[in-house]
């Protein structure tokens, strides 16, 4: 460790990290545009200037992102001189910036806006017209570029070069005429483009899917874990009032995904749509499935499982460890084995984040004794059974159309996010999706990822843990009652 002095206070800092890192980890909120902890530093925006004194020499103003820390270095990030040079720099950055914050999707989470608000002079000294450039240039399906807002920090260029290692962006032309461009205006490719909107410190690169969708200050942000592969990237789940899911954004996790996430997970928004969700419970009436009180549905499910025979139990790969434990205990009580549906690996695997394994909790479930099973084998197992429980988010969708072919003698209990109307179903209850419940997934490397409640589940939908507990309780009363008889 290296000891430096920040504002007169000695602190221990990591000698391998630039000065700006030491400042940020010690509560000094020095602004940054071109610097990003996950990218190589170029020191071009010059906004992170601080005053530094080494030895007895005169103090110097340096860019903290390109300055290594050295023992005995005295840093004055908040000196008058440091503020002055940063204010000067800010004025230049704003010279051609359109200041169209009222219509900018980045407003509210824009580094340039924040710092202008904190230190800007309120009035521009430039009477010249600002640069007129393309305001909405499509860079492919994912990203829209606003050349006027761009402050040419080149984070996007470096991101494409250094992270997915698919260099596609560059700074074209010179000086104040510079713009971010792709070769021959070709659309961007790859499945990490969404990160460009995150690394962009201003509203120059925005997600076409998020454009004009929400003001970011209206979004409620909850920590969560991505469920689209077994990497389990840490994310922030952002929902609008009314519970509409608007964005997933990567959340820094040094062990799992660092600053990034793939577009597969980022745009898995539809999967959490509230439309068509199973609300409350359904039970089989004389012919049709009819809405029912969840307690009645649990009664009906208990009836199914108290009949002789061992029900087949198949869990969704999205089941959390906590839910898996309850389900395993229930299955043990019923004398059944536990399986989880494991779809075949997809072709999305890469050497960055995506594992290609669509089961976010494979390690967790296997650790609990669940055995993986594919849809075909699962359906075969089901068609030979007299009773069964299929349980968890998206399980019906994963088993697919084959569910409709199951014999009517099979008495099927379903716990799923979406309703399933096949002849075998006797009772079904809604479950929360993975942005509506707490729990833990164990990722491919054994790291635990926590789920968080970003919005409440639809009405009448209880946490799966509670539903399983209720079912266990109901079964035990039935068993006790039977014993007394």
């Amino acid at each position: 460790m290296t000891t430096i002095q920040i504002n007169g206070k000695d602190v221990e800092v990591d000698p391998k990290q630039p000065l700006i890192h030491a400042l940020h980890t010690n509560g000094c909120d020095v602004p940054m545009y071109c610097y990003h902890p996950g990218l190589s530093p170029v020191g071009s925006c010059r906004i992170c200037q601080v005053e530094v004194q080494q030895g007895e020499g005169p103090s110097r103003v340096v860019v903290s992102c390109r300055t290594p820390v050295a023992d005995g270095m005295r840093v004055f990030p908040d000196s008058e001189k440091a503020h002055d040079v940063r204010r000067e720099c800010l004025e230049f950055l704003l010279k051609n910036h359109p200041l169209d914050c009222p219509i900018c999707d980045k407003a509210g989470e824009c580094d340039l806006q924040d710092y202008s608000f904190a230190e800007g002079q309120g009035e521009g000294r430039s009477v010249e017209p600002r640069r007129k450039l393309e305001k909405r240039k499509s860079l492919g399906d994912v990203i829209v570029l606003d050349e006027e807002r761009c402050i040419l920090c080149s984070r996007c260029v470096r991101f494409m070069e250094e992270v997915p290692k698919t260099p596609q962006l560059t700074v074209a032309d010179l000086g104040a005429r510079s713009v971010i461009a792709t070769f021959m205006d070709r659309p961007l490719t790859g499945k990490y483009q969404g990160n460009l909107a995150d690394v962009c410190p201003v509203g120059a690169l925005t997600l076409s899917a998020f454009r004009f969708q929400a003001r970011v200050w209206n979004l409620t942000k909850t920590t969560g874990t991505c469920g689209e592969c077994s990497r389990g990237c840490s994310v922030t789940t952002e929902v609008l009032r009314g519970g509409e899911l608007k964005r997933f954004r990567p959340r820094y996790n040094a062990d799992v995904n660092t600053w990034w996430m793939c577009d597969v997970g980022r745009f898995a928004i539809e999967e959490h749509s509230l439309e068509g969700r199973l609300v409350g419970a359904l039970v089989r009436g004389s012919r049709e499935l009819e809405p029912a009180d969840p307690f009645d549905a649990i009664d009906r499910a208990a009836d199914v499982f108290t009949a002789p025979g061992h029900p087949v139990v198949i869990a969704s790969p999205w089941l959390t460890v906590e839910e898996g434990e309850r389900l395993r205990d229930l299955a043990e009580a019923l004398g059944s084995e536990v399986h989880f549906l494991s779809p075949p690996a997809n072709d999305l695997a890469d050497d960055l984040l995506h594992t290609g394994d669509p089961c976010p909790n494979r390690r967790g479930l296997e650790g609990l004794g669940f055995s993986p099973i594919d849809a075909e084998a699962a359906l075969e197992l089901l068609s030979g059974a007299t009773s069964a429980l299929i349980c968890g988010e998206r399980i019906g969708a994963l088993l697919g159309e084959g569910l409709g072919e199951l014999p009517e003698k099979l008495r099927l209990v379903v716990l799923d996010t979406m309703p399933l109307d096949v002849p075998a179903v006797r009772a079904e209850l809604g479950v929360p999706s993975s942005i509506e419940r707490t729990g833990t997934w164990i990722n491919v490397d054994g790291h635990a990822g926590k789920l968080g409640i970003a919005r409440s589940a639809p009405p009448g939908v209880a946490p799966l843990v509670q539903t399983l507990d209720d079912l266990v309780a109901r079964l035990s009363t039935t068993a006790t009652a039977g014993g007394e008889r």
């Binding site: 170029v42 020191g43 071009s44 925006c45 010059r46 906004i47 200037q49 103003v61 860019v63 390109r66 040079v85 000067e88 720099c89 004025e91 230049f92 950055l93 010279k95 051609n96 000294r125 430039s126 009477v127 010249e128 402050i151 040419l152 080149s154 560059t170 700074v171 032309d173 010179l174 000086g175 104040a176 005429r177 510079s178």
Partner: protein, 445 residues
Amino acid sequence: MSAHETYLLDRAVTENSHRLDTYRAAGGYETLEKVLKDPVEPKQVIEELKDSGLRGRGGAGFPTGLKLSFMPDVEKDPRPRYLAINADESEPGTCKDRVLMREDPHGLIEGILITCWAIRAKASYVYVRGEYRHEYDRVAQALEEARAAGLVGKNVLGTDFSCEIFMHKGAGAYICGEETGLMESLEGKRGHPRPKPPFPAGFGLWGSPTTVNNVETIFNVPFIIQRGAAWYRTMGTAKSPGNFLCGISGHVERPGVYEVPLGIPARQIIEEIAGGVWKGRELKAWIPGGSSTGLMPASTIDTPMDHDSLKEAGSMLGTGAIIALDETACVVRASEVIARFYDHESCGQCSQCREGTQWLYQVFSRIEHGHGRVEDVELLESLANGMAPGKTICALADAAAIPTHAVVRHFRDELLQHVELGRCPFDGNGGEGTATRREPAGASA
């Protein structure tokens, strides 16, 4: 014209000066042979250059021997090392290196070979400005001759020393004359200057130790090695020894490239060597060393042309390219032209430079074209203060700020006169004219 010892242009004025046999007949490559075969140890070469006090002729005036000595010890650092020659002469007003390349390319090649020996480089790159087609061809042709004569390539002059020289044509960007921008460009990337540290001597071309030197600087090397540091110090001043090539342009009778000793008063160059201000007019302003060094008032022409005297006078020797402006010239117009150049040539990395160079041009242009405000003078100064010194990755922002400071300091009245009149006082049409020089309003009638 004053009589002083010359050496730089002595060969250049002879017939067929660019040919190998002419060069050899004048004693060319003898110094190289002596260095390689005697041999003169690389350290000795660097020591001799240090003793001579030779300072870089590219603009910054850094001591050359010291720069070469920054190259890491070859015993401790096995990486290949390179010498890059900055022939991207693009500082406005500067036209000295082209004369050397065109008329005396073998002098440059010999300088390169001796310097490579000194820093133990096996390869050198000559980065020639894209517009210098003729000069490029001349050096390339000389290189062919030298290679055929066993002077370049494997086993130079039959010794163990091997050195290859590669030519590279730039595409006309000013920023590629900045040493790290030049290296990026050589590597095939955009000519964006690199932040320093690391310095080229530690991490240069392809991450290897590199020294970047100007053509004229390297051209001096064989003379110093051949005739000795003591001889070199008989010319110029104590802190800036030697002769330099002064390219003088603008409103003088005999513009051109002249060899003069450092420390010669600018007055002597303008009034005697270049024949004085043309058409019998008075001098109004002059630029000592390329546009980046700023306009100086005529009253300062007694300043000696050396690094320290000009620094004291608030300017720089730069590339030693004098531009003279006569009394009919408008300094605001001149500043507008200079500012437009930096706006055009800023690479666009650093915020202050990218936006500041454009802003300066816009303000100068506004004042010149009759839309200036009194507060613009203060704005100019404050913008220049925001851009420099040392606030950006490279010195281009400084190069734009220095002339701005200079014009505000020395010609504030003329700026304010433009603002008050609402037009350019040197132009009948309110400053809406072209970039051509204009007659004063009264004289054209």
